[in-house]
């Protein structure tokens, strides 16, 4: 029997049988086993759409929750509301342009989005980057990592109802972003990494702002820690919630702090060193619990490690040029290159293929948020609706990166 799927445009449906809408059967035949299974509602179950426009979904994520009362039975994240087709655009632009396209992907930490493709292109070109440029890359990236993690702390609190931490984190982020604007010329989409180096050398204003900030680095992070770390409500809500085991995390392909919170010391900066990270002294922060609270603590600890790295970089900054001498129009020889870096959310990869023209033949962005977000599906069932936000915030996806 063909099921007549209800349409929201049909006035009769709205007036006479509201239950038909409440049951939100997809208006098309299920296209996969999983979808058929998900949308088959059991007794007493209902679907609840969280998003795409929802205060706590970090962008335009839509999560269809199948719930029994407040308890989640199953869920189906729906992506694509922010899909911009960056890969296709980049394949139709030349190498320099593609970097500008990647900038707004993960808008919270856009320097990392630039760094991965730039490194991939440099590998295609067999290009050596001046050491000062490498140090500048590390410096700006670590600053942004601090900012991103502090923002994570704030958003995590916000998603759990705390109003204040987000504003403290924005105080810090604002300083950071102004500082980076003095270095890169932009506040948010920096476009700082260039093939062969970076777009500008250190300048006085940046250094004075940075010195100013270093003298009280992490003050707001400490304030947020005071507000949250021991707060009984926060701890009670996060400890033991959404725990992921070590094997499960590897199986899910988690990376970054989410994986390290499960006890796997996989940090691309150490596991597969790039840039000048082998020369820098820092610890890979891990935790064993793998729950939401551990993921939070790992990030808090990483802020301190990043500040440590910034300190070392500032002391060891070599002299020299910040840009290799490369032509304006670059045509790498045919080949393939993969570059992965450790972004605040995990392993950020870029796979580039060249066919000898001035446009990349294949340009693939591997975004950690995209993979990390998958973990929602196995870990959320059994939790409550409110836990969706806590777990989602602790995985720290940025939808700009997820949707590419």
């Amino acid at each position: 029997m063909a099921v007549q799927s209800p349409s929201l445009d049909d006035p009769r449906v709205l007036v006479d049988t509201p239950a038909a809408i409440v049951d939100a059967i997809p208006p098309y035949a299920p296209r996969s086993e999983r979808e058929a299974e998900f949308y088959a509602l059991g007794d007493g179950q209902m679907l609840l759409n969280i998003g795409p426009h929802h205060p706590a979904t970090h962008g335009v994520l839509r999560i269809v929750l199948k719930i029994e009362g407040e308890r989640i039975v199953d869920l189906d994240p729906v992506l694509g509301y922010l899909h911009r087709g960056v890969e296709k655009l980049a394949e139709n632009a030349d190498y320099h342009h593609s970097i500008a396209y990647t900038d707004p992907l993960e808008y919270v930490s856009s320097l990392f989005n630039e760094l991965a493709p730039v490194m991939a292109f440099e590998r295609l070109l067999d290009l050596r980057v001046p050491r000062r440029a490498e140090y500048l890359r590390v410096l700006s990236c670590e600053l942004l990592r601090v900012s991103s993690h502090i923002l994570f702390m704030g958003f995590m609190a916000l998603d759990m109802g705390g109003l204040t931490p987000i504003l403290y984190s924005f105080i810090e982020r604002d300083e950071m972003v102004d500082m980076l604007a003095a270095l890169t010329g932009q506040r948010m989409l920096f476009n700082y990494m260039r093939i062969g180096g970076v777009n500008g050398d250190l300048n006085h204003e940046f250094l004075s702002r940075l010195g100013d900030w270093m003298s009280r680095a992490g003050r707001q992070a400490e304030a947020i820690s005071t507000l949250l770390n021991e707060n009984e409500i926060f701890v009670k809500r996060t400890r033991g919630l959404g725990a992921i085991s070590r094997g499960q995390a590897l199986n899910l392909g988690l990376t970054g702090p989410n994986l390290r919170a499960c006890g796997v010391p996989f940090d691309v900066r150490r596991a597969h060193p790039y840039s000048v990270y082998p020369e820098l002294d820092f610890d890979v922060v891990t935790a064993d619990e793998g729950d939401t609270y551990a993921r939070y603590l790992v990030r808090v600890e990483e802020i301190k490690q990043s500040i440590r790295i910034i300190d070392q970089v500032l002391h060891e900054m070599p002299d020299g040029p910040v840009m290799a001498r490369i032509p304006r129009r670059i045509t790498p020889p045919p080949g393939r290159a993969w570059a992965a870096i450790e972004s605040p959310r995990g392993q950020y990869g870029c796979y580039a293929m060249s066919d000898g023209t001035d446009q990349p033949y294949r340009f693939r962005i591997h975004d950690p948020s995209f993979v990390n977000l998958q973990a929602l599906v196995p870990i959320l069932p059994g939790c409550l609706i409110a836990d969706t936000m806590a777990v989602n915030a602790s995985l720290d996806p940025i939808m700009g990166g997820v949707d590419k």
């Binding site: 759990m160 109802g161 507000l227 409110a386």
Partner: protein
């Protein structure tokens, strides 16, 4: 061209109004004169006075209800402004600072905005219930005000089951939230409504049980009686004798008022706005108002039950009481306000005039007025405060109540939100046993001390 001839000279609107008023005034005067001369009006007045005197309770009720309805609106505005400003300050922000002094009118403008917005009823909603829900919530809050004593003699009704009435009527607000959640035809609203129902039902029990100790100590259910039982110094307040009860009461009251960390019914990061998701315009405004009125209400109740209500923390050491009748005190106030500054200014200005400085007499007089006017006003105020218990009581009551309002706001700025199962667990596993224990201990203590 077809010219319309001017039929009347143009009279300014103001003059027209004055003419009309003058005519009306003459008419009224005529009627009055005729009425008084014929004895009709005195008869009516006497009759009315008799009616009022005979139904003094009803008149009092009507006056009190009107006063409280009028009082809730500025209260809500003040608390909303406080919430905006205090949370902003705690966030290291400035907060509203454009409308009015320090942005104090921001909440008023908010209210006007809400009033001017479209009142939207979603398709699929039940229009009747949807419309009645905010009214039910608001009426619940306002009705509970009737028994709250603001000062000595300043209360709507002194019911002998005042506390019971308070909780009963306060529980009415839940019905409104539940109605809103059901009628909105929205899953978020439904969840919010159900959450609020579960939360209120759970927290009513510890809230009520925690108060039983106070009732036993005071020996009355009347809120006035409870306040009078605490008169004396701050050591007589029930918070000293019932600290555990106060703690339970405060937590349960936070949950009752839907405040952070228990604001699950409208948890914005979870279920968008809970029961209020589909509300807009003044219907939403009613919910909003009711919430803040509730905050004040529960703060006031906390003050009445545990912090001595309108009594001052330290008994007034100098019992100065000019035993003046109201008429005499009115004359005294007038004298203070009008005669004293003038006389004082003359006294100040005359020597200046005599010495013939460069200061003119008029200027010296004006300066004297400016100097002594405020002084006289202050004197009048102090006189009033000393002499009228009601005024002093109201000041104490509001000061204490706003400390609690501040605490509510402060908690909202600091704490994250609890989860629904933890919320229920807290109510049933911790607060309920604790309040029962408190009850037994109090009963035992009363048995031991006053057998």
């Amino acid at each position: 061209m077809n010219v319309v001839p001017r039929s009347a000279p143009r009279i300014p609107a103001l003059w027209l109004l004055l003419f009309a008023l003058g005519g009306l005034g003459t008419l009224v005067l005529l009627v009055l004169i005729v009425g008084i001369l014929s004895g009709v009006i005195p008869a009516i007045v006497i009759w009315l006075g008799g009616v009022i005197l005979a139904n003094i309770a009803i008149v009092r009720f009507i006056v009190a209800a009107t006063a409280i309805l009028l009082f809730t609106i500025p209260t809500a505005f003040v608390i909303i402004f406080m919430e905006l400003k205090v949370i902003a300050f705690m966030n290291l922000r400035i907060g509203p600072n454009r409308v009015g002094p320090w942005g104090a009118l921001a909440s008023v403008v908010h209210g006007l905005k809400v009033l001017s917005k479209e009142d939207f009823t979603p398709t699929g909603a039940d229009p009747t219930v949807f419309t009645l829900a905010p009214v039910a919530t608001f009426v619940g809050s306002v009705m509970a005000f009737m028994v709250l004593p603001f000062g000595p003699g300043l209360f709507g009704v002194d019911l002998n089951v005042g506390l019971l009435y308070f909780f009963a009527v306060g529980g009415l607000g839940v019905v409104g939230l539940l109605m809103a959640g059901w009628a909105s035809f929205n899953k978020y609203s439904l969840l919010g409504g159900l959450r609020s129902a579960a939360q209120m039902v759970s927290y009513e029990i510890p809230l009520t049980l925690s108060v039983v100790g106070v009732i036993m100590l005071a020996g009355t259910l009347s809120l006035n009686g409870i306040v009078q039982a605490q008169s004396g110094s701050f050591l007589d307040w029930f918070v000293v004798r019932q600290p555990l009860a106060f703690l339970i009461f405060f937590i349960a009251a936070t949950a009752e008022a839907n405040r952070t960390p228990f604001d699950l019914t409208e948890a914005d990061s979870e279920i968008v706005a809970g029961f209020a998701t589909e509300y807009s315009g003044m219907r939403f405004g009613f919910f909003f108002f009711a919430e803040y009125v509730n905050v004040f209400l529960l703060s006031g109740l906390a003050v009445v039950l545990f912090f001595g209500g309108w009594t001052s923390p330290i008994p007034w050491p100098w019992p100065i009481h000019f035993a003046l009748s109201p008429l005499e005190s009115l004359i005294a106030i007038l004298v203070l306000l009008i005669v004293v500054p003038v006389v004082a200014s003359f006294l100040l200005a005359i020597p200046i005039w005599v010495i013939r400085t460069r200061l003119s007499f008029a200027r010296a007089f004006a300066m004297g007025m400016l100097l002594f006017g405020p002084l006289a006003t202050a004197a009048v105020l102090i006189y009033l405060v000393i002499n009228l218990d009601a005024l002093l009581g109201i000041i104490w009551f509001f000061a204490k109540a706003y400390v609690f309002v501040f605490t509510f706001v402060w908690m909202r700025a600091t704490l994250p939100r609890v989860r629904i199962d933890q919320l229920m667990g807290l109510a049933w596993k911790w607060l309920l046993p604790a309040s029962l224990v408190n009850l037994f201990i109090t009963a035992l203590a009363i048995l031991v001390v006053h057998p």
